[in-house]
């Protein structure tokens, strides 16, 4: 497996896992996360990272 793909995939997986944890914390206590971080923008970033991940895998 290509080094580049593994690096991008690891980054995406960890970003996704962190986002899920933060969404859980935000649901548990509203405002806890959103005061500091915009989870919506993070979600868009995840979509972009997923696309990059697919493109790297193809090439």
């Amino acid at each position: 497996m290509k080094l580049k793909y593994i690096l991008v995939r690891d980054f995406f997986n960890i970003a996704l896992g962190t986002w899920i944890v933060l969404v859980g914390l935000e649901s548990f206590n509203a405002g806890m996360v959103q005061r500091h971080l915009n989870l919506e923008y993070w979600f868009y970033f995840l979509i972009a990272a997923f696309i990059v991940c697919r493109l790297v895998r193809k090439n």
Binding site: L3, F11, I14, L25, N29, G31
Partner: protein, 173 residues
């Protein structure tokens, strides 16, 4: 795959994991480290901050104030302010200064706190330096935020009301 490449993979994998862990711990720690009292110093020049949103609508506030000290002008009323409260508090105290050309007895300056039933718990500001205390037992919390209103129903078009940029909000358990 060479050992060098595997090392690179592990380095970045643990780097991202460490950063993610630090982020989650920082957010949780920030939320849990709430003391019995919380003090917010408001900055009227910055309408959005992590703890305070307002005054809004921004079009009703002029940043160029007639005040000789740091502050903002109220162009129209009412204006609103949201205060973030990370946990349950029983009392809120608002302190600050408000400046106006007309005597305070002629003005009907009111600061209110939104209640569960949708009405406002209004308290009158009767002097330049004021301190108002609110009971939070019936307050409406929306996403852990309280909503304040500053209303001057008798406000004329040419009236000048200045909010000195030294307001503080104290939350107590």
């Amino acid at each position: 795959m060479s050992i060098n490449k595997i090392n690179i993979i592990y380095f970045f994998r643990y780097l991202w994991l460490a950063l993610a862990l630090i982020l989650v711990i920082a957010v949780v720690f920030d939320s849990m480290s709430v003391k019995k009292t919380l003090n917010y110093r408001l900055n009227f020049h910055k309408s959005i901050s992590p703890d305070i949103t307002g005054w809004y609508p921004e079009s009703r506030i002029s940043q160029a104030s007639f005040l000789s000290m740091d502050g903002v002008d109220l162009i129209a009323e009412p204006v609103y302010l949201k205060v973030y409260a990370p946990s349950d508090f029983s009392i809120m105290r608002v302190e600050g200064q408000i400046s106006t050309y007309s005597p305070y007895s002629e003005q009907d300056i009111r600061l209110g706190l939104k209640q569960k039933m949708g009405d406002w718990d209004f308290k009158k500001i009767t002097e330049k330096n004021f301190s108002l205390t609110y009971d939070l037992s019936e307050v409406k919390r929306n996403k852990n935020q309280f909503e304040l209103i500053l209303s001057i129903p008798s406000m004329q078009e040419n009236a000048r009301v200045g909010l000195v940029n030294n307001w503080q909000i104290f939350l107590e358990r």
